[in-house]
């Protein structure tokens, strides 16, 4: 319930809110920074020039799509598969952007800038807040910070990539699947239908991997959605 009569918090309240948001965001920034470093390092160690991960992080700015695009490119999957996989992964940001449209703000410039900051982490962080004022500040504080940390991390990792030598030694290749596990686990825990679809999809993808070009197995996984039950029961309105 939102009250239009809510008074604007005084400056002291606002700075206290911002401090707690900064504190909570910093852990997400730290984790994302580490993943950013690994993205830069993996890309450069795999043989891509430094500008590729750096430019991609600035203009695409979507961790899982960046990893998958670079993964497909490095595996020789070709540009079409790299773009298709990355874009399919990012279709979820359309749903996310609908969820936070009101939080971002209605001002034209705000909307266009805010849209670029829509990520899994920022959306989750914003939606977790209790009131609209806090939600908006959470979106912008975590979003701008994440953008800065991610890009600095990627640059640092890319610069260190050559010096790091074989990144496999540091286990960075295990970091990305682990990040995904952490991100999808809440959804899998919550929703048995999604869990069934995901298990079938993953099994199909794994079975297809030796036989089809890189990037295709993940697309085949979408056939797992056939197990998605229509919400016939009235109580299950999402």
């Amino acid at each position: 319930m939102r009250s239009r009569h809510r008074t604007t918090p005084p400056d002291t309240d606002r700075s206290r809110t911002d401090r707690s948001l900064l504190r909570d965001s910093s852990l997400v920034w730290l984790a994302s920074g580490i993943v950013g470093v690994s993205f830069g390092a993996v890309s450069v160690a795999g043989g891509l020039p430094l500008w590729v991960p750096v430019l991609m992080s600035l203009v695409v700015y979507a961790g899982s799509a960046q990893f998958s695009a670079v993964g497909v490119l490095l595996a020789g999957g070709g540009p079409v598969a790299a773009v298709t996989t990355g874009l399919l992964l990012n279709t979820r940001t359309a749903a996310f952007s609908l969820a936070v449209a009101e939080i971002i703000g209605t001002n034209r410039a705000t909307r266009f800038l805010g849209a670029h900051l829509v990520t899994d982490e920022t959306v989750a962080f914003a939606l977790a807040q209790s009131d609209p004022v806090r939600q908006r500040r959470a979106f912008w504080i975590s979003g701008l910070g994440l953008f800065a940390v991610w890009n600095i991390g990627v640059l640092a990792g890319g610069l260190a990539g050559g010096a790091l030598g074989d990144t496999a030694r540091y286990g960075l290749d295990a970091a990305f699947p682990a990040v995904l596990v952490a991100l999808v686990l809440p959804a899998l825990r919550r929703d048995a239908t999604v869990r069934r679809c995901a298990l079938l999809g993953a099994a199909l993808a794994l079975a297809a991997t030796p036989a089809v070009p890189a990037g295709v197995p993940v697309l085949l996984a979408l056939t797992g959605l056939f197990l998605h039950r229509r919400p016939t029961d009235r109580g299950a309105a999402a």
């Binding site: 359309a94 952007s97 971002i104 682990a178 991100l183 794994l206 996984a221």
Partner: protein, 104 residues
Amino acid sequence: MNATLAVILALAVGTYAFRLVGPVLHGRVTVPPRVQELASAGAVVLLVALLATGALTESGGFAGWARPTGVLVGAVLAWRRAPFAVVVLGAAVTTAVLRGVGVG
């Protein structure tokens, strides 16, 4: 144009278009709940397939034991609701240690 640059630009334009959907449609169109539901379920299905193939395979073959074991440790940490950073580092360190002692 360089093929890699084309990939980056196509991804950037497409991704930004997806991100604009909410702010542009806000207050104008209602997305059917079934579509919204399938979109979010599809995202999870894609991510799980990506993590399964990413954890277990490399260039179309088995990735060796070190990586999936590290991911499994990360998964257990995530299951026990460990902080994000702990999950990521736990997976990487496990894999690094296994490789250090000679596990592929």
